[in-house]
Amino acid sequence: MFSYTIRRILMLIPVLIGMTLIVFSLIRAIPGNPAQVILGQQASKEAVASLTKELGLDNPWYVQYFDYIKGILTGDLGTSLRTSSAISGEIWNYLAATIELSFVAMVIAVVIGVNAGIISAWFQNSWFDYLAMFIALVGVSMPIFWLGLMEQWGFSIELGWLPSTGREDVRNPIEAITNLYLIDTLIQGRFDQFVTAFKHLILPSIALGTIPMAIIARMTRSSMLEVMKSDYIRTARAKGQSMFLVVYKHSLKNAIIPVLTVIGLQSGLLLGGAILTETIFGWPGIGTYIYDAIGFRDYPVIQSGILVVATIFVFINLIVDLLYAAFDPRIKYN
């Protein structure tokens, strides 16, 4: 397992290099002088010249790329044109908000999705199966923004149970340590704030988690149905094993393997969904950060934001691959 892990990590290097190349060329792909485009047609020659220099666009491309990589490796992600502050200093605040939201959304999606899929397969063609698969079908075809708006309308405006925007109560702000509020409030022993932070998470994470939940449920069900027909399941039953362990031990460990792919893929897509969700729920995450940067043509922020999101995506895939190997002993040897 150890050497497999090392091998998989080494295999990431070319991927990461390729990724930086793409992100790097993004800003350079703008037709004409990027500095001019960023500043607009009315900008003075001097301003354009100084921005060109600031962005390093007057150097040959390989020097630029080298500087860019050097910057990344030393933790320098450039300077925001809008706020004039170092991107590396502010990006984590946004990223943490997104990670918290995505993580909770994914936990909901995996826990409910996998279990619904298992029970549907176990009791195939029961009312539970029909109901769960109907909900899943509706779930996959539900646009996030529509679901988000309906949630806000129902649970915030009509019922008043849950907050509709933001991460915290502005009258009782949370003191950030890691900027993962669930953790920060616990560290400080502020359970009242923990509850507030959690309440703020519920609606956006459901909006974000519904599609992956539905997809995971359907995938788990079909994978389980396939596995439960296999000979080794019959063997397990022939030993006298209980149906519960036949399902949750013998079947699940096999059936989860293809589901892991879906979970990995959905975790990546979640970052895309997060941009929409964050906009609807006023969530100060990386999606909002990039979205605002696009409006201001703040290219360094766009560039670094995309790089960070893509890196996370790559590492999620690494984790999925490692989980694969943990679940399927055949992988390490082939």
Binding site: D231, R234, T235, K239, G240, M243, P329
Partner: protein, 324 residues
Amino acid sequence: MGETILEVKGLQTHFFTDDGEIPAVNKVDFHVDKGEVLGIVGESGSGKSVTSLSVMGLVPKPPGKIVGGEINFKDENLVNASEKRMRQIRGNEIAMIFQEPMTSLNPVFTIGNQLIEAIRLHNKWDKKKAKARAVEILKLVGLPRAEELIDEYPHQLSGGMRQRVMIAMAMACDPEVLIADEPTTALDVTIQAQILELMKDLNKNRGTAIMLITHDLGVVAEMCQRVAVMYSGNIVEEGTVKQIFKEPKHPYTVGLIKSVPDMTSKRERLYSIPGSVQKPGSIKVGCPFAPRCEHAFDRCVSETPALLEAGDEGQKVSCWLHHD
């Protein structure tokens, strides 16, 4: 004749499919005595596996269902037993091994995990004791490196080794009856002989009764004391190995015996029974073998023959040639 341990009486297992009700097992009678090896032979699709799964209470449901008959194991009718009771019996008193050694072990758990699970399901032993037993039983079935094997996964083992593991797992709790559903069909000839030898030893040394399903009459001659011949969901003939080989009475059995390749004769071509097995249930009245039988006469298509004693010492046959 010994004491009967398993008696199947009038067993009917039907499948309810889109094409209608299929009587895969249609009023089957046979019994297994303590410590004996009973062979069940028949062509593909004759209902051998469904019969054995019925005994285990493992017929896939839906679409299958036992719709009639009794399965008497010791003093208990298993057809009426609860799932809880069946779980106590499975693997503990009646164990089963299957035709497909390559796919019958769970690929994501170690051999030890699966073996220890089988042991601990029926014994309240701690892990250490169960592990010791697992190693012991792996050695018993002739597997080398038992201590290391425990930590290996099925894909690291050959087919023959996997079938040995399956046998070890089935024997782990010392069952009184072992159902072996074509345990060697998927293996090559030399391995086949070894596995059969192993089962013979277990039968002799531990007194485990074996219900051996096969379509290889050579295996029957080698292993069994008695044979039941199945055709299209019915038992058409039953008797001792000697009776069946020396004086087969049912035309189907006669055909089967004739189709065995005979080393001593110079026959060029193998005899094979013309036609193929009818789908169970396609013949509602009359002898199910009639469409392929060279002796068929009027009565065969108008009346269904029953499995009745014919001639000497308990040989039973279901054929109008031998009944009034």
